[in-house]
Symmetry: C2
Subunit: 491 residues, 2 copies
Amino acid sequence: KIQLLRESTDEPESHILCDLNEPLVDHTEGQLFLNDTFKIIMEEVLCKGTDIKHKVCEWKEPKELALLLDLELRATGEPQHRLLQRVQDVAKYSIKTSHPRFMNQQFGGVDYHALAGRFLTEALNTNLYTYEVAPVFVLMEAEVLRGLRQLVGWTEGDGLFCPGGSASNMYAMNIARYQHFPEVKSQGLCGLPRLNIFTSSDSHYSVKKGAAFLGIGTDNVIIVEVDEGGRMIPDDLDEKITLAKSQGAVPFFVSCTSGTTVRGAFDPLDLIADVCEKHKLWMHVDAAWGGSVLFSKQHSHLLKGVYRANSVSWNPHKMLVAGLQCSALLLQDTTDLLRKCHSANATYLFQQDKFYDLNLDVGDKSVQCSRKVDCLKLWLMWKAVGSIGFAERVDKAFNQYIPQPEFVNVCFWFIPPSMRGKEGMADYQDRLAKVAPVIKERMMKQGTMMVGYQPLGNKVNFFRMVVFSPLLTQKDMDFFLDEIERLGKDL
Amino acid sequence: KIQLLRESTDEPESHILCDLNEPLVDHTEGQLFLNDTFKIIMEEVLCKGTDIKHKVCEWKEPKELALLLDLELRATGEPQHRLLQRVQDVAKYSIKTSHPRFMNQQFGGVDYHALAGRFLTEALNTNLYTYEVAPVFVLMEAEVLRGLRQLVGWTEGDGLFCPGGSASNMYAMNIARYQHFPEVKSQGLCGLPRLNIFTSSDSHYSVKKGAAFLGIGTDNVIIVEVDEGGRMIPDDLDEKITLAKSQGAVPFFVSCTSGTTVRGAFDPLDLIADVCEKHKLWMHVDAAWGGSVLFSKQHSHLLKGVYRANSVSWNPHKMLVAGLQCSALLLQDTTDLLRKCHSANATYLFQQDKFYDLNLDVGDKSVQCSRKVDCLKLWLMWKAVGSIGFAERVDKAFNQYIPQPEFVNVCFWFIPPSMRGKEGMADYQDRLAKVAPVIKERMMKQGTMMVGYQPLGNKVNFFRMVVFSPLLTQKDMDFFLDEIERLGKDL
C-alpha cells in the first residue's frame, strides 16, 4: 500500500500532451548521433587538431563568428544532419588546445587515456557524494588522493578533488580559519579580530579572490616580497607577520607557491615552514602548477619541505595533461577537519540509518552538493603510464628548451630588428612593451601558434611559453623561435 | 633576438632521459584506445545501462569492490588490453544513472545530444575565461544565458555557469553582500554588523554551507516557516526580518526555493517579492531543481513572480538531463556587479592591450580561474529539441505518475502488510521509519531499481521518487510500485 505525503493539490487539471507509454528519447537515433559526433571529434579535434599541418586557431571576429555559428536558441528542434554540421563548426572554430603549438596556458596537450577516462566519466554521469551512487569513484578518489599525498610525503591525511585550483586554495583557507576559530562556521566573522593571510607578490590571484569571497577581504592579504627569481623571501614573511600582530591583526594562513603562474618560481618551503612553525600559522602550498614535479626524482627538490605544509593544492590538469578539471586539495590533517568544517548533514543524502559505512559518503567534505567525478581520468592515465611515465614527462619538459631551467615557464622578450642594440634609448621600454601584443595578434590571426604575454612588476610585456605537453618535440621549439622572428621582423 | 628573463640558474645539470625529437604520446595507439573505450561505453553504459533487462546497480561491499578494481597506483604502466579491461570494470560496477529505474536523485536519464556536447567539450578541453582560448564558448555561453534569462522574464542581465547549484547560490549571496557593502571585498566582514540571510526550513542545505563559507555563519541564516505543502510563509518572513532588525542584525538576502529538494515545493515568489521590496533585500531564487518548469506554458505559473528576483540559480543538469555539471546563475543586474564583485584583474590573463573587445574575457566574473565549459551540452540539446521539446519533457514528467501533482517529486510511505490498518499502535511511526531503509538495502543488493528515502521534520523515513527522465514510460512506473511491494511484502 502506497500512502502519498500529499494526497491532492489545488492545481488545474493537467493535459496529457504525449504518449506515456513511449520514452521521449530515441536510443537508436541518439546513439547514431553520438557515433557520428565521435567520428568528427576523432577527425577534427584529435587528428587535424594535433597535426602541425593544420592551424591552432581559426580566428574570427566575434560578430562574424556569432553569425557563422548561428547561436540563437529557437522553439523547434533541428534535423540530425544540421546538428552534426554544428558539431563540426564548434570543432572548427574552437582553439586546438591539444595542438603542439598551443603554449598559451598551462592546460595544453592531450593524453588519450585521460581523455578515455573523461568520456567514460561523462557517460556514467554520476555524482561524487555518496557510495550509493558512486561506489567505484568513492574508492578510486581515495586511492588517487593517497597516491598524491604519498608524493608529498604523507602516509596519512585527507583531501578532495575541487572544481579548480582557486577552489582548492579557498577550501584550504576556510579549513585553516575553522581550525583557528571553529566558531566562525556558526557565528561568522562578525565580532572577531581582523584575520591576515600572507602570500608573495608573484602568487596566483586566487588567494585574493578567495579572501574576498570568504569575507576576509583583499586588504587582509599581506603581500610578501620576492627575490629576483620570484621566490618568497622568508625573512620578509617573518617581519610582516610580526608587524601584523603588532597592529592587532590575527595572522592565520600562509599561502606559498610551488610554480608561480608567470615565472614558474618555487618558494623556499623549508624556510617558510620554520616561520609558520614559529608563529603557529597554517602553511598552505599552492602547487597547482608545480606539484607534478614531485614525480621526478631529479626535480622534486624544488618542493623540498612540502611535507611540512598543512595543505597542498595540486592540479594534474596542468602538467600531467589530465584534462580540465582535475584539482586536488591534499591535507595532512587526520582529525576529520575537512568534514567538520564543511558538513551540513543533509538528511536526504547522508541518512544515518544506511546499510553501509557512512564514512564512504564523502559529499559532506565539500561545499558543493553535486560534484563531478575528477579522479577517473587521472587514475586511468596513471595506470597507463605509471609513476615512472609521469616522471619521464616531467623530466622531458625540463629538458625541452633551455639548458638548466628552474621550471618549464620560458619567459622572454623578442627584440625586433629595429630595436636591437638601442637599449639606451629613452622610449626603449615603451616600445618593447608594444611588441608582444602585435606579434600575438598576428599569430592568432594567422593561426600558426599560440603563446601568452604579460607585464610583471617593472618588466614590460614579455612572452611566456609553457613547455610541458608530451606531444612536443624539438622541432616545435625551433618553429616557435623562427615564427616569432618571422611575425616580428618588421617591427 | 630572444632575451630570456632569467639567463641561467644554479640548478645541477640536467640529464636528458628521453629523445626530444619524439613526442611522448603515440597518437595512433592512443586513438585506437579511445576508439575501443567508446565501444565499451556504447555497449555497457548506453545500451545495457539503459535496458531494463539489465541491472541498475551491481552492488559490491566496499572491500570486495576495491579488490575487484585493483585500484593501486604503481610505478610502471600497463598494456592496452589490461587498461581496456579496467574501463570495462569501471563501467560494470558503476551505477547506471541513465537507467529508467534510477530515480534516486535529480540527475537520472540520458540525452544523446547533450552527451555528444559533453564528449566534444572534453575533447576540445578549453577554459572559459578568455575569448582568446574559448571564442566559440564565450559567445555560446552568453546566448544560452540569454535564453534562460528570457524564460525568467528578463530582456537584459548577466550570469555565469558555475560548478553546481551550491556554488551558484553562494555566488548570489556574495554579489548581494557586495551590493549592500562594497567595502567587504577589500576590508572583509570585520567591523561590520551581523548580516542575516533568510530561507525556508525546506530549502537546500547549500544556503547554510554558503553562509559558513562566506564568513557569515550558519546562525545568521534565519529559518522561515513553511506551510503544509513545504512553501515559505511570506508573513513569517516579514516578521522574522523585522525581528532581526530589532536585534541589531542587518538582513540583506532572501533565498526562496522553486522546487524544494525533498518535496518539490515552490515558494510563493510574488508575495515574497513584496516583502523583499518592502525591506529592500536582495531576492534570490534557488530554482536549481524547479527552474526548468519555465519551459512549460502549463506549469510555469509555479514560478509566478520570478522576474522580480535579483538572481536565480537554475541547474539544467537536473530536469533537462544536460549532464553533470550544468548550473546557471542568472542576474537581473545590468551594472556589471558580477565582474566588479569578483574581479582581480590578473595581468597574465586579462591584458588591457589585447586586440579584441575585453568584455569578451568573462573569466573575471568568476571566483574560479580555470572554468570548464558547461554551455555546449545544453546548447546542442536545445538546438536538437527546441524550447518546445523541453516543454514537452516537462509536461510529460508532470503527467507521468499521479494526477495533478504539484511537481515531480513523488513522496510516499510504503506500508508493509503487517502494519496495515494498525495506525493506532504506539510504535507505528518507529516501525514505519525502519521500512524504507530495509527496502532500500534490498533493492540496491538486487540491483533492480534505485530510489531515495529520508525523514523530514516530524515525518519518518519516506521514499522520494524523482520522475522526470525522458526515458521513462508508464511501464517503469508500474514496475516501481510492484517492486516495492515485492521487496517489502514480508515486513
